[in-house]
Assembly symmetry: none
Homo-oligomer: 244 residues x 4
Amino acid sequence: MPSTAISFGLEPVRVVATRELVLEQIQTAINLGRFLPGDRLPTERDLADMLHVSRTTVREAIGVLQGRGVIEVRRGRTGGLIVREVLRTRADLKKLVRANRDQLRDTFDYRVAVESAAAALAAERRTRGDLATLRGLVALLSSIVEQEVELTGASHVAQFLNADSQLHVAIAKSARSSRLAAAIVETRSAMFLPVGAVFTKLEPTANHLHEQVVDAIAMRDSNLAGQLMAEHINATRATIEKWL
Amino acid sequence: MPSTAISFGLEPVRVVATRELVLEQIQTAINLGRFLPGDRLPTERDLADMLHVSRTTVREAIGVLQGRGVIEVRRGRTGGLIVREVLRTRADLKKLVRANRDQLRDTFDYRVAVESAAAALAAERRTRGDLATLRGLVALLSSIVEQEVELTGASHVAQFLNADSQLHVAIAKSARSSRLAAAIVETRSAMFLPVGAVFTKLEPTANHLHEQVVDAIAMRDSNLAGQLMAEHINATRATIEKWL
Amino acid sequence: MPSTAISFGLEPVRVVATRELVLEQIQTAINLGRFLPGDRLPTERDLADMLHVSRTTVREAIGVLQGRGVIEVRRGRTGGLIVREVLRTRADLKKLVRANRDQLRDTFDYRVAVESAAAALAAERRTRGDLATLRGLVALLSSIVEQEVELTGASHVAQFLNADSQLHVAIAKSARSSRLAAAIVETRSAMFLPVGAVFTKLEPTANHLHEQVVDAIAMRDSNLAGQLMAEHINATRATIEKWL
Amino acid sequence: MPSTAISFGLEPVRVVATRELVLEQIQTAINLGRFLPGDRLPTERDLADMLHVSRTTVREAIGVLQGRGVIEVRRGRTGGLIVREVLRTRADLKKLVRANRDQLRDTFDYRVAVESAAAALAAERRTRGDLATLRGLVALLSSIVEQEVELTGASHVAQFLNADSQLHVAIAKSARSSRLAAAIVETRSAMFLPVGAVFTKLEPTANHLHEQVVDAIAMRDSNLAGQLMAEHINATRATIEKWL
DNA sequence: GTGGTCTAGACCACA
DNA sequence: GTGGTCTAGACCACT
């Protein structure tokens, strides 16, 4: 039963400044691997257009990201906003992740719920076009896993995560559910830190469950798709929990 | 695959004014039946304290609610903010709900995902205290269903919905998942209109599935709890879809 | 040409508290002789109803009037709000009036404008009923002038002023002009002090010009009515100016 | 004779919120043509200073004006509060004016009274400086009337009305009467709609009576000045009445 | 003691 | 440097 303190269900509101939202958007995009280390972000002007805010506001967010060491601003013709290689000691990361342990567990519970539901619904609702997209993304992931690693381990993982995110979102889209899709994007961004901390190099098996999930979706086996997805996420959870 | 337009995952930010958040909080509390028609909301000053905003901001939200006809403002010592009986023709409601049909379906998909996950987790994690709370709420619901109806049908339903909301949130709390709890609160508020439109009087069976879900939670049968909850919500969905 | 300071015609606004308006209304009614010394005002409750404000607000105004010595509050069955005899030395009054000399002149200019216009229009537009009313009021005034003076001089004058005000307002009403009527009421109240100060007893001729004005109105002689009214007011002005 | 209902001269008080006064001030300034379509009002902060109120209060008034479509709000460095071109069909205007026909007549009666009184007094009291000002304004009006019309008819008229208002107020100032001046400003604002509706383009003769009035003032012919002014206003009245 | 109004000042987002 | 938003506190009018 609700405690008397919130007996009316009224909780303090959190004011969100526009610049925070902008900051979050860009940081999230980087976290999700949309921009890999060394990549150039769109110009300030383009970012402002995309986000429907003024350049001033974008600049403020950029300033913060620069301060965080996430991006580097280079001037001149060859310049722009360059995503930096994130260099953090694993010990630092572990400390950081541990501090948010409860939140992490909460997020995992939520991920299992939404991602397996999305997979189950996708099995019911996917079109042939959806399936092609999913297969394509699985293939892309395989090629990333198997590629010659010329990059640092971190970048390799980042590249994988980018495609991985696309796949999970594509599943939610095949499920025709915008709320689930939004939830997936949001939680993946929230998980970036622990995932980046734990997976410093790709296991050859990283993509196996993906294939099985997509197969289940192909076969329209709703229960199986949901179950496999839950397994997949719980596997990640287990790996991280062990590491902690 | 994501369209090129959002190829970077950067979407326009939605600036959220504090007053909108306040408005949403209060409207949600009313939608969930935390305040029944005829009830008095906390005073403006108390709301401001609860929500950690200034009275001015609260008043702006109050003004909107007044404009919507949701509350009535009475001045003087014995005055206050009174929740109004919402009087809309069923035809109007049907039109309104139909206009948001896609959104409604999306919400139901999402509800099935989060509520059944919450029930399943609750079966694993509930304490004895949680169970007592859940049983208590089920009993409360039963008594509401069985009571002599001296109220209007709408008020009777509203009273039921309030206790119903409390039960569902209590399940999420038993699952020790704040994200799921928040999702449940949010979606229930979003469903306020269609539910209010369809259920104009309580069926004697309205509470049966609740009992079964709580029994499954009591027996720590995770799968069953999740399954029954999904059934429960899908039953509501079916009723509404049929009505449309 | 407007000075640069108010080049936009925007001047500071004066905030008017409700209690001031209530105070003004009651004070004005007394100034105009609507309530004579010794009269009882309506009860607080009735005043509140008449003025469309709460009793609290009326009480505040009453308090001020009591403080000014304008009314006396008597408790009990025979009690009520009693208008007091105003006792001021003539020297005090002269000082008071002199302090507002400019304003007084301004008001006279304005009175000449509106009252003679009202008289002129009344000559054009009066009905037979209007005329009867006007004649009645002139007769009333005559009877007051001629009556045995049992009262103090001040009360006698006050009684006269009351009827006098009614006549002037009746003329504006015969002119079918609410703006002019309102202006007349307002200015007469503003003139109360100087007039009360100067006319301590009634001249036998006090009513003569009234008769002539009403005659002109009866004959529908617009110009004459306006001219006589201007004369009438300018006579008062001259008397006061001489006294100052 | 006054009805018993107001037998004590006590009428309901009208509570005036500061924001209403502010609204009125700004709307009046625009009505009088102090700000022409396309002009920028002073900034919110400046208006607050001028009107001796807080910016919040100004903003409330601004919001109403925006809602009325009277001004347009532009953000940013080059933004501000811009007076909009009022576009209403003449049929709409006619309907609007007709609805207030009684009030319009009342206002005209009052205008004749105060404006001709002001002109008459100005003839007696004007200084040489006043005369120069008056002549200047008449010349300005002439130049407006004769100018090549590159503007829309409405703007041309608005420009004329602005100077016209200045002239009439200047006459009241020459009369050394603040009450008359205030009355003139107020009534001119009240006539904004009908005048704007009727005079869609300037007649070449629009300024002729002005010249004659000022000549009469110059010659210190009080009666003539008042008479001509009355004629001038009655001419306008006749034009409008005919149009209705 | 409730809602209604106003203030003075601050910071934000925009162009 | 503009409008947009929020705050904290005060006083007022109502019942």
